[in-house]
Amino acid sequence: MIASSSVGASVVVERLVKRFGAFTAVDDVSFGVDPGEIMGFLGPNGAGKSTLIRMLCGLLRPSSGRALIAGLDVARDPEAVRQHIGYMSQRFSLYADLTVLENLRFFGGLYGVEGREFEARSAWALEMAGLLDRKSALTSELASGWKQRLALGCAVLHRPPILFLDEPTSGVDPIARRAFWELIQQMAATGVTVFVSTHYMDEAEYCHRLALMDRGRLVGLGAPEELRHHALRGALLEMDCEPVGAALEALQAAPGVFDAAVFGSRLHVVVASADAASAELPAYLGARGVRCTRIRAIEPSLEDVFVQQLGAAARQSRGAP
């Protein structure tokens, strides 16, 4: 049976763990997602985002813990769960040797979308993907942005209440990415729950809530606003210093400095107090042969938050016996 309407469903993840031999890809992750939410997974390559999403789709069996999708345990009843979800994998995985319409028809057949329902849904998907006049084109001939939107069309043909998108925009040009995110927003507005992983920081701003992941662990969870204002302890300074390398080294050991990182040609420095640091740091650095031309307090971006969270997590794991 297909879900009759696009009403979202909730997801509950409890202490989910996935090990591959000695390597722990997902380490004790718990969270809950409400219907209609866009939940973003942010983290570097190898952070465990894809593994987590694959477990939620029933592609991988969790080593321990459990995941409930619309109230169904994924490990126990994967086929029932699969009828409720749409999935777009990291790698483009439609059939390149099938035409646009043939791909849609294939997934329609697998999800039980046929007849007049298929006519309506495929027409919608073609329009959404901007492929109305290219439905007989081989999928291999499409540019990556169109491929991506066709994949989305195939994934939502059966109106799943939950959508899993694993790095859906990797390798897609910025304009196509923007269009893609507009679609995601529209779907969430109709009540679809969306899980999306990305390593583009700017995309994270589109999410209602963010899960920061690093080496299998959840290192931060909250709305982008929340993370920006509360996750960072202290204040953020942006500094122009010469030479950058020596400055970074000196700052990391300086009193009142929690963290320092290079952003482009500048330094972002997390300090206990913006005023005190602005007054003291030039002299401290000057004594170490570093000349600073500009210091100003700035609003932290998600990237700053993320860099600091990762640093904190790394220090924690180093400090632990």
Binding site: F20, R54, C57, G58, L59, L60, R61, P78, E79, R82, Q83, I85, Y87, S89, R91, F92, S93, L94, Y95, A96, D97, L98, E102, R105, F106, F107, G108, G109, L110, Y111, G112, E114
Partner: protein, 378 residues
């Protein structure tokens, strides 16, 4: 099980076969090629063996004997050699496989001593051909010898006693002309089907893994059974088509007699295809890459089917342990069935044992194949 999902898979698979010219070539041209190659190449008949002659007498009698060799379809006189050295050279170079040496006193000893002998030097590199050639040569010579005796007796008015007291009147059934081609070709049909069936089906699952489409397929509600049946149904159709194509070539081109019924042929072909496609599918599930899968499919079907199915090398003549091994080769049963259908016009009642063996295989392989594929990434 949903027919809708099964049809979706089968339809997709058919489109892919149609667009992938490589599969299409394997499916349609390999049977024609193999039938041609093996049909022409694998004749076990020994005819036109090249013979050199060293006639050291050059008498009427020696020429009479040599004419008989010339007249036989089994021998071709390719030339005469003067001495032993030339004879050795002719055998070494492969110009002839047999050299006949007629001694200088041939006609005299034949007349006076009542018996003479001719030496035959045989190239024994290929022992089987050599044995057959020796037997043919002996037959030619004993025929000549019997005629000489008859002449001799008649000259003395003993014509009545001269006839041989006992003779065999052979009547060959099923393969009346004793053509090895009629014996081999029906088996080639089995070989072609085993090979193509396993090769094509070995690519099916591996292709999904290799192209990265498997991940998405697993994420849909499709059941493993629907994937298996949906993928194999098109190849089942192609297999039946190939069986009909091979049979047509066998009868229409190679003139192999076909005495059985078409229903019997296609019915047993269907049974054999279940086994063959199942084997290919299991290989595909286990290897996950197309090259490896096709190599393994070739290895496990080509060698056993060629050597141990009895398609060319009679199983009765194999050593006992190998004979036992042939019972494991499913091709063996189908070769038996095909030969009986083509040459004897056998019906189901005549072939109960091999058909039953194939049924057992089909059930076992089918059960294994159905369990082989799990919808998991690792």
């Amino acid at each position: 099980m949903s027919i809708q999902r099964l049809t979706a898979i089968a339809r997709k698979e058919l489109i892919q076969i149609w667009r992938d010219r490589r599969s299409l070539w394997i499916a349609l041209f390999m049977p024609i090629m193999q039938m041609g190659l093996i049909g022409y190449g694998a004749s076990l008949d020994i005819k036109h063996v090249p013979v050199c002659v060293s006639d050291r007498e050059g008498s009427q009698e020696s020429q009479d004997l040599l004419k008989r060799f010339q007249a036989s379809v089994y021998f071709d006189l390719v030339g005469s050699v003067a001495d032993d050295r030339a004879l050795t050279a002719a055998i070494d170079s492969g110009r002839c496989r047999i050299a006949l040496v007629v001694p200088p006193d041939f006609s005299r000893t034949l007349r006076d001593a009542g018996g003479s002998s001719v030496q035959a030097v045989v190239d024994g590199t290929d022992d089987n051909s050599a044995n057959v050639a020796i037997a043919y040569a002996q037959a030619v010579i004993s025929g000549y010898s019997a005629d000489l005796r008859l002449d001799f007796m008649r000259q003395r008015g003993l014509g009545a006693q001269a006839a041989a007291p006992l003779a065999v009147e052979p009547r060959v059934w099923f393969n009346e002309d004793l053509q090895s081609r009629a014996f081999i070709i029906p088996g080639v049909v089995a070989m072609v089907m085993a090979l193509i069936g396993a090769l094509l089906s070995s690519l099916t699952i591996a292709r999904e893994w290799e192209r990265g489409t498997m991940e998405l397929l697993i994420s849909t509600p499709v059941r493993p059974m629907e994937i298996m049946l949906g993928k194999l149904v098109p190849y089942f159709g192609i297999g039946l088509l190939d069986a009909a194509l091979c049979a047509t070539i066998a009868v229409g081109w190679f003139q192999v007699p076909f005495r059985g019924s078409l229903v019997m042929l296609l019915g047993t072909a269907a049974l054999f295809l279940i086994v063959v496609l199942g084997v290919g599918y299991i290989i595909s599930v286990l290897t996950r890459n197309q090259l490896g899968a096709s190599q393994i499919a070739l290895l496990v079907t080509l060698l056993p089917t060629t050597l141990l199915s009895g398609f060319a090398f009679p199983i009765d003549q194999m050593p006992a342990p190998i004979r036992v091994l042939t019972y494991l080769v499913y091709g063996r049963y189908y070769v038996t069935i095909l030969k009986a259908i083509f040459l004897k016009g056998a019906g189901p009642q005549d072939l109960l044992a091999p058909i039953l063996a194939l049924v057992v295989y089909a059930v076992a392989i089918g059960a294994l194949a159905a369990r082989a594929f799990r919808k998991r990434l690792v």
